[in-house]
Structures are given as structure tokens and as C-alpha cells.
Amino acid sequence: MVSVPHGGELVQLDVVDPSHDAFNGYDKSLMLPVSKETEATVLNIASGILSPLTGFMGEEDCKTVLDSMRLSDDTPWSIPVLLHVASSFTPQVRDEIVLTDEGGSPLANLLIDERFKIDRKEYAEKVYGTSDPAHPGVARIFSSPDSVLAGRIRRFAARPGDPFSDVTLAPRETRVLFGEKSWRTIVAFQTRNPPHLSHEYVQKTALAFADGLFINPVLGKKKVGDFRDEVIVAAYKALIRNYYPQNCCVLSVLHYEMQYAGPREAIMHAIMRKNFGCTHIAIGRDHAGVGSYYRPYAAQEIFKEFPDLGITPLFFREFFYCRKCAGMANEKTCPHGEDDHLTISGTRLRELLDGGESPPKEVMRPEVASVIMSDPDPFVR
């Protein structure tokens, strides 16, 4: 049986056409343009990926999440979901506003429940474990206004024209899909890169214990040098087509901005995949980490604090090709030294692909490398 929704109920907000009357007749002072990342958050609230949230958090939830990684009703939750607004945006409690995309098209109605301020340094230290502005999550929170609106999303406008709509499933859809496939145990795999062989081995090892695999790449804001979203999706399609048995794997993307919050973010990744119906999630080395801000297995250790999370983490060590083992292995299965291991840094891998040179097949499947190299511009510039 698939996981029950987080908090007990799958949120499914009304979805209406952008031309719906609900978005008309508003004074300009009640229209709030939001970034693409906030747009993705609104979509994730509306479709139930962030159940049980029905909107942006209030002050009490924000405090309990920061202090004890729980909502005010004790439901596990590790990172606040906030709507930052400039202090010049004047609507007050009980006003209904329209969130719009950057181009001014309506996204959602939001009924304001609260307006409050956060201490951004405290937020950074609790969520990211640091207030170092070089940390990308810290930099983002420091550049966001400290003024925050809380409130319920009442209606959500359908978003036509998403280039990934054919590989974007909502939780209610994955739940039906898993049922149709008669899967009772489903392992989620979170990723933000095209697949290396080491990723494939994590997925297949997990799949050996489960009925199905849910590959859920994160698409959204990228750093310069990252793979473009189109490339990630095409690479996964190539891998699945060539190396996975039929009917054991579902590929669907998640529009979401990585926070690089390491252990706290691993919990959020698990909650979102639980809402898709997954019963398990693969958690590897330095999951959702960046630089050296977190211990390599901190994102695994944190799960001990959540006996009531409702999704089971599967912990993995990093896989690599071992020349002496003549196959893929990890530090738990391989007795040989690093000299026998074939590993390539992400930077070197990008250099090879950028120069049109296929990486060793022990690092990346030729079909995957071919898809990447056939793209005229696979990287964010």
C-alpha cells in the first residue's frame, strides 16, 4: 500500500483557468508578482506535494519548524515555507491578494492570515547550520525581505505551456499510477543531475527490495555550469529505455528550488516523496549538501529523530567502479584501495562532455553520454 499523505490528508486545491473571474477586478496594490521559485512552491502546495500545507506558513509554525523541526501540530517538517514580501507591499490581514508570475499572469488567490518578520540570521543558522553568506541558501535568505505574509491559497490558476508537462505528475496521479501497477513498495530517488553509473546502482540496489522505483529529478533554478533541465530529462529517458526492465520505473519531474540545506532538506525531500505515495526514499552521501558545510552522512543521521515520518529512508554509501572487483561496488562491499577505484569529479566529467569526449563507460552509460553530447548546449551558461 502506498504511503498515506503527510499529515493525513492530501491537499488538492481548486485549479481554474487563468481567465477565471476570481483573478479579475483586483486593484494593482493587491497583485504580487513572485519569482519562478515561489511559483513552483505555489504549484507544489496546490497539487499536494507539500501536504498538509494549504498555504504559506504563519509565525507559530515557522517558529516550531525552526526550533524543533515540527509544525505546531507536531507533524514533522524541517524547513519553513514562507512568502517573503517587500515592506512596501501594503495589504494587511484578511485582504485577499493575487499572486502573479513575473509576466503578470495570475497564479493564485491568497487570503492573508498573518504578517510578521523573521530573523534571517536565526533562520540561516537553524536551517543551514551556518550564517556564512557563501552558502547559497544563506545568500538567498539574506537577500530576501524579512517581512513575510502567511495565508491560505484559495484557487490556483492552471499553468499552460510547461515544456515538461508530459513528465510532470501530481501526487494524486502517481498514487493512482502506483496502484495500477500493483506496487506496494515504492522507492523514491531524488536527483539534480543526469545519471552516472553510481546513481544507477543506488537505484537498482533499492529496486531489488521494492516493487517500483520513482525517479524524481528536480528541475528549476540552476547554477552556472549545471546541466540544463532538458538534458537531465533526456538523459534519464535514455537510461530507462536502455537499462531498466519495463514496468519497474516511473520518471516524473519536480519543479523545486534546491535549498542546499543538507540534513534538514533531506527530511523535506522525504516528505514530498511520501506525498507522491512513495514508501521509501534513497538517501546517499552528502544528500542535498553543498561544499563542506555538512558531515558526509549527516543527512542520514537526522532520520533517527523522526520515528513518525511515515516514509522509510534507505541509506547508501557512494558507489564506484573497482578495477579489482571488476564491477560497481561501494565501501561496504569492496575491500580494495582508492587506487583501484575509478572515480571522476563532477568538474572533470563536465570538461569531458563539453569537449565532446565520452566519459569511461564505467562512469556513465554511453547512451546517456551520447544524449548529453548531442545537445548543442547542455550546460547553464
Binding site: D166, E173, P307
Partner: protein, 72 residues
């Protein structure tokens, strides 16, 4: 800050838990241990009474989209 309240335990059980956590890592106090165990048990009971998230009519609409996309 998280707020706390008090519940009563039999002294014998309290002592038993104290002995147990003295030998185990991860729990700072009897309260920590009891909170952990209760969260696990309560979540299990809550799961048992969760309603289905959609109707059979919803399911047919969803299946149509999944078929159109090639998922089923």
C-alpha cells in the same frame, strides 16, 4: 519554542526506562524516550484511519491522463 506538559508514569516503568537509556545512545532523558515511542505509535494509529484521497470518478479522470501520457 516547543511547549511541554507533564504526564504520569508508574515509578517502576520510569526506572526501567532510565536503566534502558543509560545503556543506549540517542536518548537524553526518559521524556525524550517516551516522546519518541509515542510519536511512533501515534503515527501508526493515525495511518490506520486516513481516508482515501479521491473518489472512483477522480480515478477514471486521472487514468485517462496517465494513458494519454503513456504511463499506463
Amino acid at each position: 519554542m516547543t511547549k511541554y506538559t507533564t504526564v504520569s508514569l508508574p515509578v517502576t516503568l520510569h526506572k526501567r526506562v532510565e536503566r534502558l537509556i543509560a545503556e543506549k545512545e540517542g536518548f537524553k532523558s526518559v521524556s525524550d524516550y517516551v516522546t519518541y515511542v509515542l510519536r511512533e505509535v501515534v503515527a501508526m494509529h493515525e495511518t490506520e484511519k486516513t481516508p482515501a484521497p479521491f473518489t472512483s470518478k477522480d480515478v477514471e479522470v486521472i487514468k485517462s491522463r496517465l494513458k494519454a501520457l503513456g504511463y499506463i
